[in-house]
């Protein structure tokens, strides 16, 4: 503690240098927080994915098109090892202008059991069942369309027509739900039964996706393969995957998220390492005689080392804390910046991210301080004091 004033004086000797270094470190750690936070989100989603949940849909062709016969859902429900099956329809479209794409998912009565981990309270599920033109929006979507509970929401869908031939669909917002990390664009869902009956007769009884739970998570992979095999030679071959399989990979559209985020975070650290290393070296060089005085006064090598490390660590640690805080703030702004539907998950500033930021900040400080410390421990006090060193 008694060193604190010493360190503070050292740091504030050249305030401009300290502040600029701090700002640079803050920016680097903002990037670090966003990148490692993005990674953390992928981990979170992978950990939360359920082993017993299975998704299936038409193997080829446009999944957003007319879909597959609902009879398939009944066939799957009758297969051994299946606990509960839910049929899902999509309404892809836009609001007012094709530039504002919107996507509505229509769920049937069993959905509540299949996606029981969604943050949707039972009364909302029953409200959707009762009010057939009602929908639930996530906070993200509600903010995007400026909707609150009770508002009407109208979207145009070229793919899904109504029985009267029109393609405009109006719903009432019944509830606004919490967002889910894996639904990166937010979500909106309504009543499957309603859309099925509202479509022209020829399009009724078609579904875009079938989701189910296996009775035993251990057999889910085998069940998924069995489903694919059963329908492989039918008119509608299926593409089936478990939730776990679909979300365990760290890829965003085929990009290796881990490698990219780590690379960028590392480049940022490398950039500040030069800056902080140079700063501390310069600071020690300028005060070489002062350090000689400290040593004359009886400061051990260890104490001097501590002083230098702490001086180097101060801007790194403060910058890391600020940077991660800024990253946490910016993470919430990303959806507004990126084009709708881009689907990049939001970075999560988890305790793990903070820990890694702290570790990296100390690593940068230690590396920066290494050379000056080596110089100080080897210093010849007499010549340093006389200014000949």
């Amino acid at each position: 503690m008694k060193y604190l004033p010493l360190i503070w004086t050292a740091v504030m000797r050249k305030p401009a240098r300290t502040i600029l270094t701090l700002l640079s470190v803050t920016v680097a750690f903002t990037l670090f927080g966003l990148m490692i936070g993005l990674n953390a989100t992928f981990d979170l989603v992978a950990n939360r994915a359920r082993a017993d949940r299975i998704f299936t849909g038409p193997r080829f062709g446009n999944a957003l098109g007319t879909g597959m016969p609902i009879a398939i859902a009944r066939q799957i429900a009758a297969m051994p090892g299946v606990k509960v099956v839910t049929a899902v329809n999509f309404i892809p479209g836009y609001v007012q202008d094709p530039k504002n794409p919107a996507f509505l998912v229509m769920l049937d009565d069993n959905a509540e059991k299949v996606v029981e981990d969604w943050p949707i309270p039972p009364e909302v599920w029953s409200a959707i069942r009762k009010d057939r033109t009602g929908i639930v929006m996530s906070k993200n979507q509600a903010a995007r369309w400026h909707k609150k509970v009770g508002d009407n929401f109208t979207m145009i869908s070229k793919a899904v027509k109504r029985a009267d031939g029109k393609n405009s669909w109006t719903f009432k917002v019944l509830a606004i739900g919490d967002d889910i990390a894996e639904q990166t664009n937010g979500y909106m869902f309504g009543n499957y039964d309603y859309i099925d009956k509202a479509k022209p007769l020829a399009d009724q009884g078609k579904v875009n996706e079938i989701d189910l739970l296996a009775t035993d998570p251990a057999t889910a992979t085998e069940l998924a393969q069995r489903i694919d095999r059963t329908f492989a030679n039918s008119a509608t071959p299926l593409q089936t995957t478990t939730d776990k399989m679909a979300r365990s990979g760290k890829d965003f559209n085929g990009l290796d998220v881990k490698a990219i985020t780590h690379g960028i975070a590392l480049a940022g650290m490398f950039m500040v390492l030069f800056l902080t290393g140079n700063g501390i070296a310069e600071s020690v060089r300028e005060r070489f005689a002062e350090f000689a005085t400290l040593k004359t006064l009886g400061f051990s090598d260890r104490a001097v080392t501590a002083l230098v490390v702490l001086e180097a660590a101060l801007p790194c640690v403060v910058g890391a804390a600020l940077g991660v805080a800024v990253a946490g703030f910016l993470a919430g702004q990303i959806p507004a910046l990126m084009p709708p539907g881009f689907g990049l998950p939001l970075p999560t500033i988890s305790p793990m991210v903070m820990l890694w930021a702290a570790v990296s900040a100390f690593a940068v400080a230690l590396l920066s301080a290494a050379l000056p410390i080596a110089r100080l421990t080897r210093m010849d006090i007499a010549s340093a004091l006389s200014g000949r060193a």
Binding site: L20, V27, P237
Partner: protein
Amino acid sequence: MLRQIWIVSVLNFKSLTSRFWQSMVIVVGLAATIGVMLSMLSLATGMRQAYYNAGDPGRAIVVSKGADQEGQSAITRAMAPMIAVAPGIAKDTDGKPLADRGLNMGIPVLRKDGSRGQTTMRGLAEKGQGVRPELKIVAGRMFERGKRELIAGTGAQNLYQHMQIGDKVILPDGEWPIVGVFATGDLLEGQLLGDTETLLTATHKTNYNSVLVRLASQNSLPAFKNALTRNSALSVTVERHSDWYKRVASEQTFGLALLGYIVGAVMAIGALFGCLNTMYSAVSTRGREIATLRALGYGAFPVAVSVILEAVVLSISGAIIGGAIAWALYDGKQDVFGGMIFHLSVSPAQFELGVIWAGAVALLGGLFPSIRAARRPVVEALRAT
């Protein structure tokens, strides 16, 4: 004046060696910034290039009215022959118009890294190869018309599993073998091709997605377009193939490019603070030298210019190093994003952009230190230790 700037700057650069590590802060900062930015942009740039390559200005694409993707478009069996007889279409050696009824649908693939993806399966009809002369079979053979078989692009073969000749692709009512491998030099290389009519039957579809025609000449588009839009039996949009892909490219690569620019901008801000720091300290360590020059009669302006010049040279060399690293690592590497296979690209234009960014950072980072250098009273600077 210029002479003064020259002399002061030369003096500056000669003293750089004594400030080597300090200067490296700027070089490394900009190398990291521009290296990361160009690496990220190589995705969007490469993808855009693959789209541009696919769009031949000598072709026109016909889709149903208002569709801006092939997948959204439906051309009925009745409409297709009406399109093929319109004026402005080049004729094949057999005298028939070079108009190809195309089919376009998504199909799941397993990438080589084990992740699941989606690619496009296209149908080509009789005139498919005539309209697309860039299509070359590089292994095996072309699919036969009327047969349930496919050919795979070279990119698909490189980056997806189960794309070798003899492998089977699951389609409705049975599997289709891959009988050949093709190259086109554009985005089609990441896709699968089969016979339009056979695919149409197998997938229980009733409509084509598009009609692609080879224009009689690049100037015959207006005539072709007029004929189709005036025909009340058709409700279609006609676009030059190159314009079509230019629009698709900008839509599809916007998000990725934006991401690259955002990361680049954040790093540039970090590098800017580093640059300011270095230049301030350079100006202060050279305080006496600058004051001496001023005392000898050199103006404040040449001194200021020399400071900025130093920042610019250091930043731009950093940018070139960073760009070179990005180029060496990624340029030309085949990669996949979503359903697209393309070659990453760090182009000269991207390099230029990197250098401009670095120059901007240097101007901002050198400006205030240069003002301080120029304004500092000579006497005070000479007295300072």
